[in-house]
Symmetry: D2
Subunit: 352 residues, 4 copies
Amino acid sequence: MKYNTTDQKIKVGIIGATGYAGVELLRLLLSHSYVEIAALSSVSYEGKSISEVYPNLKEICDDVLTNEEEVLKKSDVVFASLPHGLSEPFAKKCVEQGKIFIDLGADFRLYDEKDYNEWYNLPYKEKELHEQAVYCIPELHRPLLKDKKIIGNPGCYPTSISLGLAPLFVNNLAVEDRIIIDSKSGVSGSGRSLSQMTHYPDCNEAFAPYKIAVHRHTPEIEQNLSGLAKRKVTITFVPHLLPVNRGILSTMYVDLKENNNIDELLSLYKEFYKNEKFVRVLDKGAIANIKNVRLSNYCEVSLHKDERTNRLIVVSAIDNMVKGAAGQAIQNMNIVCSVPEDTAISMITPSV
Amino acid sequence: MKYNTTDQKIKVGIIGATGYAGVELLRLLLSHSYVEIAALSSVSYEGKSISEVYPNLKEICDDVLTNEEEVLKKSDVVFASLPHGLSEPFAKKCVEQGKIFIDLGADFRLYDEKDYNEWYNLPYKEKELHEQAVYCIPELHRPLLKDKKIIGNPGCYPTSISLGLAPLFVNNLAVEDRIIIDSKSGVSGSGRSLSQMTHYPDCNEAFAPYKIAVHRHTPEIEQNLSGLAKRKVTITFVPHLLPVNRGILSTMYVDLKENNNIDELLSLYKEFYKNEKFVRVLDKGAIANIKNVRLSNYCEVSLHKDERTNRLIVVSAIDNMVKGAAGQAIQNMNIVCSVPEDTAISMITPSV
Amino acid sequence: MKYNTTDQKIKVGIIGATGYAGVELLRLLLSHSYVEIAALSSVSYEGKSISEVYPNLKEICDDVLTNEEEVLKKSDVVFASLPHGLSEPFAKKCVEQGKIFIDLGADFRLYDEKDYNEWYNLPYKEKELHEQAVYCIPELHRPLLKDKKIIGNPGCYPTSISLGLAPLFVNNLAVEDRIIIDSKSGVSGSGRSLSQMTHYPDCNEAFAPYKIAVHRHTPEIEQNLSGLAKRKVTITFVPHLLPVNRGILSTMYVDLKENNNIDELLSLYKEFYKNEKFVRVLDKGAIANIKNVRLSNYCEVSLHKDERTNRLIVVSAIDNMVKGAAGQAIQNMNIVCSVPEDTAISMITPSV
Amino acid sequence: MKYNTTDQKIKVGIIGATGYAGVELLRLLLSHSYVEIAALSSVSYEGKSISEVYPNLKEICDDVLTNEEEVLKKSDVVFASLPHGLSEPFAKKCVEQGKIFIDLGADFRLYDEKDYNEWYNLPYKEKELHEQAVYCIPELHRPLLKDKKIIGNPGCYPTSISLGLAPLFVNNLAVEDRIIIDSKSGVSGSGRSLSQMTHYPDCNEAFAPYKIAVHRHTPEIEQNLSGLAKRKVTITFVPHLLPVNRGILSTMYVDLKENNNIDELLSLYKEFYKNEKFVRVLDKGAIANIKNVRLSNYCEVSLHKDERTNRLIVVSAIDNMVKGAAGQAIQNMNIVCSVPEDTAISMITPSV
C-alpha cells in the first residue's frame, strides 16, 4: 500500500475509540495530512458522538460512534484498542479484505503461543493469522514490517525498556540473567475504567508497585531482548503506579560483562540510534525524565555507571499514550503505508 | 505585511525566550509553516542553547540564546515576554525599522495612561508609541489590528473573562457594577521564577486566593468590558492559585438587568461566536473545565442560571499559556501577517 | 450524659464506617481518651476487618465490620454516615433506648421539612424525631445542644461558609440578597464511591464547578445565615471540585450595608470568636489557605476589602473531613457528653 | 536521664526549627506529654515568630525564634536539623553540659571517618565526639542507645531500606554484592529551600531519578547492612523524586543464597519484628504503599518472590518526615529519656 500523496487519503477506522488509547489515536490522526477518519466504534457508547464522551473534542470531531462492522467496512487501515482475546476475528476480516490491521492490544505481540497461553490463559485460535503478523518497535524492527497486514503494536512498558536496552544486547554487553527493571507508569496506563486504585483520593499522594514480577508485559520484554541478544534473556520486572497522568520511566539495572566505561557506552548508544528521530540519547550527566517527553513520540535514554559495582543503570522515558501506544501505532502505519514516518507524531513536548 | 506563501518565511524572534511564555511561543512557532525562528534572546542564559535550559527541546531546537539586539536585527516580527516597564525601547526600534512588535507583557495593554500609572506605578515614557499600539483579543477586536505595528497581547485572566462576558455587555444585559469574578489559575501563570508559594510542597495540596481585589489585570478587564458595554463597568476580581500546571477557569457572577432565560442567553452567545473557531459555547447543562482546553487555543464558555436570584453564572476556561499568552500572540501575528488565523494554534486538547 | 472520667469510657459505634467520613471518625476516635469503639458497621464489607478495607489501620484497628443492629446494641453514642433518607430508623431506636445519635448525613440538618422536600425529594417520615433534633456548629449553636439526643452534624460547605459569615449577619452588616459564595472542595468530599469525575486521570490537572446554584447544601447555608441574621438571607452558591485530597476554601463576596473599614471588621470578627479555639481569624493581609488547616479541626478566616466597590471578601478554609465532618461530629459529642470539647480533635496541621 | 513522670517536663530545644524536619519535630513535640519546648532557633528568621513562617501554627505555637546559644542554654535535650558539617560544635557543648544532642543531619551517622571524608569531603574535627556518638534505628540498634549523649539520627532512605532488609542480612540469606535498591521520595525530602527541580510546574507531572549511584546515603545504608550481616555488603542505590509531598518507597531486589520460599521468609520477618510496634510486615499478597504510612511513624514492609529468577523483592514504605526524620528522632529521645517509646509518635495515618 502506498500513500505518497495527500490527495487520496488513507481511510482509517478505530475499533474501541473511547478508551484512552483509542481516543489518543483519534486526536493524533485528526492532524494527519494523509488520513481521513472513516469510522469509530465503541461498544459502550454506540450511537453517541465521540465529543459527548470526550468534550475536549466538541466542534473538532463530533463523529457518531458506530460498531466494529462499520469500521471494518469503511476503513483501509483498522486500529483496534481492545482487551486481550478479542482481536483475532477483526484481524481475520481485515486480512481477507486486504486491509491493514494494527492491534494496540496484546493479541499479536507474542510470537510464541506458549507465552500467550502462559501469561494470558488463552490459546491462539487462528494460528495462521499469528504467522502473518509482525510485532514492531520501528527503531528495532522496521524492516520486518514490509508487506505485513497484521501489526502487533508494542506494549508501553516493553517499548520503554527495549529501546533503553537494545544497544547493550545487540552488542552482547549485558549479563543475560541479571537484568532488574523498575518501571513507573502514569495512571492513564490503567485505562479509563474505574477502579479503587485509580480513584483520585486513593491514587493521589500514594505510590506503590503492582503485579510485582507477574506483569503480562514480562514475556514481551524478554522476547524483545532475547531477539536482540540472540540468546535467552530473563528479567525481573516490577511496575509501579505513579501519580501523574502520563509517562513511563524505566530504571534498568544491568550487570556488564566487561568493564565498559560510560563514554564508550554512550558512543555506542548514539551510534545505534543516530538515524532515529524519536530516540534521544542524552549527554553524560543528563537524566531522562518523563517531563521531557510528555505528549511526544520521543523516547529519552540516559546512561549512568555505578563505578563501585560495575553496574550500568539505564533510564528511559516515554509518554505511555504516544510512543507507548497511539503514536507508535501511527508510526507503524506510516511505515507500512509509505508515508513519511513522522507524520502526525512530531509534536513537541510542552516545557511546562 | 502579507505572507500568503510558505516560500518566504516570516522571520520571527523572541525577546525573553526562556520564560514560560517565551518558550511556549517557541514551541508553537516551531510548527508554524509560515515562520522561521530568526533569533532568541535571554538575559540569564545568553550563550547557552535553549535546549540546555529546556531539555524537552533537545534535538528539536538547539538554537543558542543571544541578546535583544540580535533579535531586533534578524527578525521581521518580534515577540517580547518581559516584566512590565521594559518593552518601550524595543517597541520603538521595531516601529522605526518597520517591524512588528508583539508584547506579551503588560506595557501595551492599557489605553489610558492613568490606569497604567495607578496599577503599575510607572508613566508611559513614549506616549506616541502607545497611540500607535493596539490591544487585541481577536474574537473581540480583530478589525483594530489592521496596519498596526505594536500589539499589546492580552493578559491571561482578561482573556478568559472578556470572552466569557462579551456577549452580555455588547447586548447591555448585565448590571455594570455587580460583576463578581472568581478566577483560578494554574501555577505556570506565576512563571518560571522560584518563590515559596510555588515551591512544590507548599503549593501541592494547597489552595488560596492571592492579590485579592488588587490584581493588576483588573483595569484591563474593566477596559475591555467597558469598551464592549460603552459604559463604565466596575468589577470585583479575585484570582486563586490552583495546584495544576496549566489552565484558567473563571466563575463569573452577573446580575441580569432583565429576566432573560437560559435558552435565550445561550442562543445569543452562540450567535455572537458563530464564526469563531476558538470559542466554544457549551450546550445547556455542560460545564466548562480547564481539562477540555488544556494545550489548545480554545476558550470554553458555559452559562448557568441561578433561578432563585436571577443571577447568571458564566464559566469560562482557557489554557493560560496558549489562549492566555503564546497562542493568542500567534493568532494576532497570523492576522496582522495575513496568514490563516489558526496556523500553528490548532492543536487538539489531549483527552487525558 | 456525663463522662468526666476516663475510667468508664463512652461506648461509641459507627454506622457506615467504611465511607471516608466514617473511617475518619474511627481514626480520630481511636485517640479519644474517653471513648472505646464498641462496634463498626458496613453494608458492603460486613464480616471483613476494617483494616482489610483500609490497610493503613492494620495492627492499629483490626475490628471486624458488623451490621447496624450490633452497633445500636453495643453503643451509647451512635454516629451514622449514610446517604440521605436512611437515618430516621436508627435515630428512632437511639432515642427509644436513651442513646445519642449523631448523624453525619443530611437527614437532620434542615429544620423546615419543606426545604428537605424541595432539595432532597423526600418527606420527613418521623416528624417528632425532627422536633427533638438539633443542628449544631458548636461555635454558633453550642447552647442548643443541651440534653439533645439527635444531632444533625453540619455539612462541610455550610460549616466553612457559616463560620466565615456569622459575625457579619449577627451584626446586620451584609446586604441579605447579595451574597455570592464560590467554594472549592477537595475530592474526598465526593466520597469513596467511584465515578468518572473522580477517576484520577480525569480529575488530576482538571478543575471545574459542579451542581452550579443547585447544590443541596444551599438551604442549609441559608438556614444558618437567616437564623443568625434573624431575617431571610438568599445566596448564590457554586461549588467546585479541586484536585487535592482534602480541604474546602470558600471565597465569599458580600455587599456591605455601610462602609465599615477592614480594621473595624477584623476587630468584630476577633471579638466574636475570641473564646473559640477552633476558629482562627487571620491578621490583616494574611490569606486563608486550606494548607494551613489540613488534618485539623481549625477553621481559618481572612477578611479583605475591595475598596473600589465597598465589597467585603471573606475567605474561609477548613479540612472538609475534620471540621467539615468527623472532627465536628466529635466536637458535638464531646459537648453533649460533657468531656473537654477539644478531646481527640486538637491535631496540629503538618507544615508540609 | 529518666523522665518517668509528666510533672517535670523534659526541656527540649530545636536548632534549625524552620526547616521541614525542624518544624515537623516541633509539631510532634507540641503533643508530647513529657516535653516542653524550651527554645527554637533559626538563622534566617531569628526574631520572628515560628507561626509567621508557618501560619498553620498560628495560635498553637507562636514562639519567637532565637539563636543556637539560647537553645543550648535552655534545653536538656537539643535536636539539630542542619546542613552537614555544622553539628560538631553544638554536640560538643551539649556533652560538656551533660545534655543530650540528637542530630537529624548527617554528621554523626557514619562510624568510619573515611566514609564521611569520601562522601562529604570533610574530616571529623572532634574525633572523640564521634567515638561517644551512637547511630540508632531503634528497631535495629536500640540497646546501643544506653547512656549515650550524642545520637546520630538516621537518614530517611537508610531507615526505609535497613528496616526492609534487616531480617535477610541478620540471617545471612542475601547475596551481599547483588543488592539493587530503587527508592522514590516525596518532595519534602528535598527540604524547604527553593530549586528549579522542586518548582511546582517543573516537579508536578514529572518523574526522574537523581544522584544516580552517588547519593550520600549510600555509605550509611552499607554500614547498616554490613553491620547486620557481619560482612561487607555493597549496594547499588538510585533515588527518584516523586511528585507527592511525603513518603519514601524503596523497591529492593535481592538475590537469595538459597531458594527460600515466601512463606518461610514472611515468618522470619514477622518473627524478627514481632515486638516492634512501628514495623508492619504485610501478609502475603499485600503491597506496601506510602499512602498507608503517611504522617505516621510506621514502616510497612512487603515481600514478593520472583519465582522465575529466585529473586526476592522487598518493598518498604515510610513517611520520610516522621519515621524518616522527626518521628524517629523523638523515638530515640523517648528511649534515651526512659519515657514510653511511642509517646507523641502514635499518630494514625489518615485513610484519605
